[in-house]
Structure formats: structure tokens, C-alpha cells
């Protein structure tokens, strides 16, 4: 088990380094921060001074070497825009995103498992057809459109909920509901497919021959077997939320990491971009590790 975690950590470290190299150089190809940060009429000397202050006058490879050295000591640099450590800025935004992702995915998982399992139990029945339709719509509807329609209907016309921003619990409702739709649609389909094959398996036949009731057959016998493909997809969907639901966070003015990343890219705040990528990549690495361990927990035949 421990050696498995070590191996996975090492493999992730390599991809993390690759990512770091790519983002570091790509972001510097977007242009010179000095021309964005200083007023248009700033003199060449002022720009040179700004670059020298932030180490931007050094050759790229030297900058990269310094950056990597700093990262190893836990220093991810300063945010140019906010004049605070980049890591603090990112962690603050990431906390918002993490909460949003955790609440949304918990709701999605519970709802999708119940709906998908019941649909699979009576394939072709009314509930199955209804939930298939709903989940198909959910999986295919564009989220930015849904977000705007939700704001128009619930915030502007009905005035039930705030349009955007944060501050109260009601600010959370619309972003969560909009983010819920697509993963729900996708996961219901996966649960349904996986449950159909589990429910037609031989061990379910044995359970019926033992006289086990329908409830335990669905939710005890079949579900645990059907969960492996499901948690893979849950992980995948959760990862896209952790990355920051850029569009949704922007529409709802939600101060998450997705919005922060877009803003920082536009402002050429390189240190924040890099720190955001490192933090989310690390979070996704942790989540994948948890999923791998969940496999072993669900299925005793899987041992690391």
C-alpha cells in the first residue's frame, strides 16, 4: 500500500514538473507584464526598473532556475497585482472552489446513484425513460446558457435569489444548482449502465434464490459491484470542478480559483497562474489517490 502511494506520488511529481515547465514558458510568451502594469506613458527606464525589480530582465532559463529553487523552499513568489504571496491568494480562492466542488459533488453523487439505480431496476419502465430523458438533457445542456437563464428567471424576474457574488447562503444556491446539472446527467447514465449489468449478474440471481428483498439486492448486492466505473467518472467530474468552473465562477462573480486563473492570465500575473496550477494539480493528485484507495476498499480483489 505505502509503496503504491510512493509510486503514484513519484509519477505525479514527474507530470507536475512537465506541467510547470510548460506553463512557465508558455505564460511568458503571452507578453511583457511591464507594459500591462505600468501606465501607457511610462518611460523605458521605468519599465526596465520594473522588470529588474521582479527579475524579469534575466534570461528565461535563469528565471526558471530561480523559480524552481524558490518553489522547492515553499516560496511561490509574490502576486504582481496584489502584492501578496501568490500562494495565499490562490489558497484563498481555492477554498471557495473546494467548497463549491465538495457540496456539488456530494449532492450529485447521492442523487445520481439513487436515480440511476432505480432506473436500472426496471429497465424500460416509466421512471427509467423519464430519468434517461432528464439525464440526457442534463449532460448536454450548455452550462453558461443555463447559468444565464437561471439568473434571469430566479434572480431578476422572481427575485428569489441574488444574481451574483458571495455573502449569504442564498448566494450558493444558483452556482451549485447550475454546476449540478451536467455531472448529474453523466453520472446517472454511468450508474444506470453499470447497475444494469450488475443486476443481471449471477450473484444477484443467487441473492434472489436466497429470498433477499429487492432493496438490499439493489443497494447492497448490486450497487457496491457497480460502483467501480462510477467512482472513476465521479473523480473525473470532480476534477473539472476543482480546476475551477471558469465560466460559472465568472458569470456568478464567484471568487474561486477558476476565475482567479483567468484574471491572472489576462493580467500576466505569472506567479499566481503557476501557483494556481500547482495547487489544483496537487489537489487532483490527492483526489485520484483517494479514488484508487476507494477501489481497493470497494473491491477486495483489488490490492496494491
Amino acid at each position: 500500500m505505502l509503496s503504491f502511494i510512493r509510486k503514484r506520488a513519484f509519477a505525479s511529481l514527474i507530470s507536475l514538473i512537465g506541467l510547470l515547465v510548460m506553463v512557465f514558458f508558455l505564460s511568458r510568451m503571452t507578453g511583457d507584464p511591464a507594459s500591462l502594469f505600468l501606465p501607457v506613458e511610462a518611460s523605458a527606464e521605468m519599465k526596465a526598473e520594473f522588470r529588474a525589480l521582479h527579475g524579469l530582465d534575466q534570461p528565461l532559463l535563469v528565471q526558471f532556475g530561480q523559480y524552481v529553487g524558490n518553489v522547492l523552499t515553499g516560496d511561490l513568489g509574490e502576486s504582481l497585482r496584489k502584492a501578496r504571496p501568490a500562494l495565499d491568494v490562490v489558497l484563498e480562492a481555492f477554498t471557495w472552489t473546494l467548497w463549491l466542488a465538495v457540496i456539488t459533488m456530494t449532492l450529485v453523487t447521492v442523487c445520481a446513484i439513487i436515480v440511476g439505480s432505480l432506473a436500472a431496476f426496471r429497465t424500460g419502465g416509466f421512471f427509467d425513460r423519464f430519468s434517461s430523458m432528464v439525464s440526457l438533457i442534463g449532460a448536454s445542456v450548455p452550462d453558461f446558457w443555463l447559468a444565464i437563464v437561471a439568473i434571469v428567471v430566479f434572480a431578476i424576474q422572481l427575485s428569489w435569489l441574488p444574481t451574483s457574488g458571495t455573502g449569504s447562503l442564498s448566494h450558493w444556491i444558483l452556482p451549485i444548482c447550475v454546476l449540478f446539472v451536467r455531472p448529474f446527467g453523466i453520472i446517472v447514465q454511468v450508474v444506470r449502465g453499470s447497475m444494469i449489468s450488475a443486476l443481471s449478474s449471477a450473484y444477484v440471481k443467487t441473492a434472489r434464490a436466497k429470498g433477499v428483498k429487492s432493496g438490499p439486492i439493489i443497494f447492497v448486492h448490486a450497487l457496491r459491484n457497480a460502483m467501480l466505473p462510477v467512482i472513476t467518472v465521479i473523480g473525473d467530474q470532480a476534477a473539472s470542478l476543482l480546476n475551477g468552473a471558469v465560466v460559472i465562477e465568472t458569470i456568478f462573480g464567484f471568487p474561486g480559483v477558476g476565475k482567479l486563473m483567468i484574471d491572472s492570465i489576462l493580467q500576466r500575473d505569472f506567479n499566481v497562474v503557476l501557483a494556481a496550477i500547482l495547487v489544483t494539480a496537487f489537489a487532483i493528485f490527492l483526489m485520484n489517490l483517494v479514488i484508487d484507495l476507494a477501489y481497493a476498499l470497494l473491491d477486495p480483489r483489488i490490492r496494491y
Partner: protein, 539 residues
């Protein structure tokens, strides 16, 4: 008149499919009393399992439908019960065990949990269930019963898993036990143990046993009476002795005639030098030694049967001889050249001479290729064998040789029956004009009557084309009919090697004797004599 324990009256079950209604069973009737064993004998597609699924309420409706009839348990019609009452019958009054215990046990729960569930579902408390589960595990003679309760199904051997299933089925002391091909997936010696256990438990509890099987040997070993089914209809019924010695229906006669193990034994006739000479072949999987130095010779037109139970290394031997896996020691001289150390280009040429026919033609034939493509693919890879213009003609000829017709060329594997598919696999092997064909359980998955046809075909190819065979099998009667030599393997070693007559009539090693003693004879009188002899030798 007292009611029978179980009575099936005029039962008809239909399945509505996209291509029309299938009458799975039509108007069948049979009955079973306490303490009695009734066998339902039939081949695949005969509908032999459908009536038992109806008894257990395991038929999915739709697409299934009970078209007519009733099933009476102690005089009460199961079809007229409420679904809750029906559910309570399952497990408590009627229990069932299945063919493949690995897939029929839930892989993610311990067997102890699954045992306790059966007991708790029918009202036992937790501690009582735990104690009862332990008692039953001891009764079915599972090794280390306390520890066994906390293990998962994959941690047991096949025979042990079937013991778990039996313990679970008997947990609530049912009046009726349905056993659907309970020993088909097991080795012969394990089969004998499991059948013996079932009989003991039946004597203790006085339950009725309904056993569903395709194997006449199983029928003669355990059953009192037998009903024979063909294409959904019950064609014959009677005591096992009556039916075996005096079959009335043509189908029953055919089934009994097709049972292997009664023909003349081959005397090896091949002369000349060995084409294949294996010396001290070894194979390791990690620290596990799967083959511990196997040696034998094979001449052209000769058949060596490799028999042994699962884990004996017989399939490993086949795989290293075909270089599907690399050997870890020894030599195998094919016409003087060691095929274990051949270069890839030599090996490529050798592939023409050595072919393999696998156990399951459904898996070994690509479902998206037509028969023509499947067979002619060999010539795409080895174009020197045949110019393209002659392919169609040759495919037609090969199909004729294996008893199929040239019109079948454009069809896909799923359009054929299991036996026909295995013939296609043989035609595919023949396309390269091989000199040696390795058959790895090539007929095990087939029905008895189809088995006999395929064996006849292989025998014809051997005589006409001088092809040598390595015939890997666990079914001893089949080996007796087909092979020249028998090599008995156990735990990676050859324990006995001799002509068929030597091994079958005068086995030297205890393991060979045990294998032969465990093999079931379709004749109930012979089987009874064997059983008595076995019991006498034990006591």
C-alpha cells in the same frame, strides 16, 4: 393421495424476443418427493434450466412469460402466491446451487456475510446466524471454517466455493434443493466429492433434490429418476436404470450412444521418427514452478492426450510449445530444431506447422470477421501457401472437410451453433496445412452429441492427413476414445505416461487410479459397482 413435495404440471414458458416468441418449455410435467433425486437431462437449448428458474421465480418477466401450467409445492400453487409469500419460499423452502460458484457468489462480500444474510433474511438473529454459519461450514468440510467465514469468494478453490454455495443453500434446511449443473465447472475428483457431499446431506435432511445436468455420468451417480428434455419438450422419463438400458425415444437413444468412453481403444500405429521431442520443459511464474521438467515424444499422425486437473500445468505446456509464452528450461525439438530457442523468423515459418484450437470458439473467433475472412486470414499472413485466386475454392473445400457447406462462407460466427463454431476454428487451423494441432479442451464446451461429431472429425483428419495432435482434456472417457498415448499430469509433473490401454486398463500410480475412479460412467450399474469399489477401498 398425499401431495408430492413438488409437482410441475403442464408448464409452458415463452420468451418474447425481437425475432419472435421462443417457446422455451412446452407443456412439461414432472414431480418429486421428499428424499428423492430427480435429474433433468438435456443439452444446451433444451430448456432444462427454465423450469427450475420458474420454480425459483428467477425468470425475468418480460421477456419471459408463464404461458400455462402450475407448480405445486406441497400442493400449493407457487404462481398463485403473493410476491412476498413467494420471496419467503426462496431460501427457506426451496434453495438452489448453480454451475459456476465463482460468479454466483458476490465478489465484494465475505462468504460469512453472505451466509449470515441468507439466515437473517429469514428471521435469524445476528449471533445465531454466525453460529449457524460456522456449523454449516464445518459440516461441508471447509478447511479452517472460522477463518473461512472472513474470506472472500476469490480466495477459495472451485470445489471449496461450491461447498460454500451448498452450505448457504442448506442454511435454512430447505425441503427442496435445486442443483443446476453443480459440478460441471469442477475437476473430476472434486466433482466426486461434491456429489458425495450432496448425497450425504440429502440422507441427513430428507430433502428432495432436483439436479439439472447434461452429463449422463452425473445422472447415473446421483439420481433415482430422470426426465429427458429436448427442444423444450419432455421426451422421456423413468428410473435411471430403465431409461439407460431401455430408452424409448430416439433422442434419448442418441444421447446415450454419444456418451464417450465405450468404443475400442486405439493401439498406436505410427512409425518413424518423432516430429516433436520435448525434454525437461520447465516454466516458472514468479517463484511458482508450473512445469517441473516435462518430457515426451510425438510421431506424425499420433495423438498424445494430456490429462490432469486444474493447476496441473497442462495448458502451460500447450502455451510454451506454441511459444505463446517462453519456456524457462528444457528443449523441444521440432524436426531436430529446438523451438524454445528459435529466432523470430524461424518461428514465423514454424507457425504454419503448429496450430492450436482453443476451448471456447465464441471467444477465439473474431466476431466481426466472416467465415471466409477468418479462414483466409492465414493466407494473408503466409501468402506462399496459396495464390489469392484460389482462396474461395480452398475455403469451400475446407468447410466441406469439417462438415460445413460453402454457403456458410459469408456468415459471421454468431450465426452458428457452438459445435459449428468449433468446426470453423478447426477449418481455420487446417488452412495452414499444419502437421501438429494442439487442442486445449477443444470439445469441453460442447454438448455430448456435438462432442462426438467433432471427435470423429478430428480422427478423420488424423487418418487422412497424418496430423499429430496434442489433446489437452479433463474428460477421461473422451481421451479414451481418441488418443494413442495418455500423459497424466499433476502439479507440473508427469505422473504416468503410456498407451491408452495401459493407462485405462492398468493404471500404475495412485493419482491416475484416483482420477479414473472419480470419472463417472453413464451406465448406472457400472457406476454403482465403481462406487461400491471406491467405498470399499476407502474403508
Amino acid at each position: 393421495m398425499a401431495d408430492h413435495l413438488l409437482e410441475v404440471r403442464n408448464l409452458s414458458v415463452d420468451f418474447h424476443t425481437a425475432t419472435g416468441t421462443v417457446h422455451a418449455v412446452r407443456n412439461i410435467s414432472y414431480h418429486l418427493d421428499r428424499g428423492e433425486t430427480l435429474a433433468i437431462l438435456g443439452e444446451s437449448g433444451s430448456g432444462k434450466s427454465v423450469s427450475s428458474s420458474a420454480i425459483m421465480n428467477l425468470i425475468d418477466m418480460p421477456p419471459g412469460k408463464i404461458a400455462s401450467g402450475e407448480i405445486l409445492l406441497d400442493g400449493k400453487d407457487l404462481f398463485k402466491m403473493s410476491s412476498e409469500a413467494r420471496r419467503e419460499v426462496n431460501g427457506r423452502r426451496i434453495a438452489m446451487i448453480f454451475q459456476d460458484p465463482l460468479s454466483h457468489l458476490n465478489p465484494v462480500y465475505t462468504v460469512g456475510w453472505q451466509m449470515r444474510e441468507a439466515l437473517k433474511t429469514h428471521g435469524k438473529g445476528n449471533t445465531e446466524a454466525q453460529a449457524e454459519a460456522l456449523r454449516l461450514f464445518k459440516r461441508v468440510a471447509l478447511p479452517e471454517p472460522e477463518k473461512a467465514l472472513d474470506k472472500y469468494p476469490h480466495e477459495f478453490s472451485g470445489g471449496q466455493r461450491q461447498r460454500v454455495m451448498i452450505a448457504m443453500a442448506l442454511a435454512l434446511k430447505p425441503d427442496l434443493l435445486i442443483a443446476d449443473e453443480p459440478t460441471t465447472a469442477l475437476d473430476v475428483t472434486v466433482q466426486a466429492e461434491v456429489l458425495n457431499l450432496l448425497k450425504e446431506l440429502q440422507r441427513e435432511t430428507g430433502m428432495g433434490v432436483l439436479i439439472i445436468t447434461h452429463d449422463l455420468g452425473v445422472v447415473s451417480e446421483v439420481a433415482d429418476r430422470v426426465v429427458v428434455m429436448e427442444k423444450g419438450q419432455l421426451v422421456e422419463s423413468g428410473t435411471v436404470r430403465e431409461v439407460y438400458h431401455n430408452p424409448q425415444h430416439a433422442y434419448t437413444k442418441k444421447l446415450i450412444a454419444a456418451a464417450p468412453g465405450k468404443g475400442d481403444m486405439h493401439e498406436p500405429e505410427a512409425t518413424g521418427d518423432a516430429i516433436l521431442s520435448v525434454k525437461d520443459a520447465r516454466k516458472f511464474y514468479g517463484g511458482f514452478e508450473a512445469l517441473k521438467g516435462v518430457s515426451f515424444d510425438l510421431k506424425a499422425g499420433e495423438t498424445v492426450a494430456v490429462v490432469g486437473e486444474s493447476g496441473s500445468g497442462k495448458s502451460t505446456l500447450a502455451r510454451i510449445l506454441l511459444r505463446l509464452e517462453e519456456a524457462d528450461g528444457g528443449t523441444a525439438k521440432w524436426k531436430g530444431k529446438d523451438l524454445f530457442t528459435m529466432s523470430p523468423s524461424e518461428l514465423f515459418k514454424l507457425r504454419r506447422d503448429l496450430q492450436m484450437v482453443f476451448q471456447d470458439p465464441t471467444q477465439s473467433l473474431n466476431p466481426r470477421m466472416t467465415v471466409y475472412q477468418l479462414i483466409s486470414e492465414a493466407w494473408v499472413i503466409h501468402p506462399e501457401i496459396l495464390p489469392k485466386a484460389k482462396w474461395r475454392e480452398r475455403v469451400a473445400e475446407l468447410l466441406g472437410q469439417v462438415g460445413l457447406s460453402p454457403e456458410h462462407m459469408g456468415r459471421y460466427p454468431h450465426q452458428f451453433s457452438g459445435g459449428q463454431r468449433q468446426r470453423i476454428a478447426i477449418a481455420r487451423a487446417l488452412a495452414l496445412e499444419p502437421q501438429l494441432i494442439v487442442c486445449d479442451e477443444a470439445v469441453s464446451a460442447l454438448d455430448v452429441s456435438v462432442q462426438a461429431q467433432v471427435i470423429t472429425l478430428l480422427d478423420k483428419l488424423r487418418k487422412e492427413m497424418g496430423i499429430a495432435f496434442i489433446f489437452i482434456a479433463h474428460d477421461l472417457p473422451l481421451v479414451r476414445d481418441f488418443a494413442d498415448y495418455v500423459m497424466v499430469m499433476q502439479k507440473g509433473e508427469v505422473v504416468e505416461f503410456g498407451t491408452v490401454a495401459q493407462v485405462f486398463d492398468n493404471p500404475q500410480k495412485p493419482y491416475t487410479q484416483a482420477l479414473l475412479a472419480a470419472s463417472l460412467d453413464p451406465d448406472p450399474d457400472v457406476q454403482a459397482a465403481n462406487r461400491n469399489a471406491r467405498l470399499a477401498s476407502v474403508s
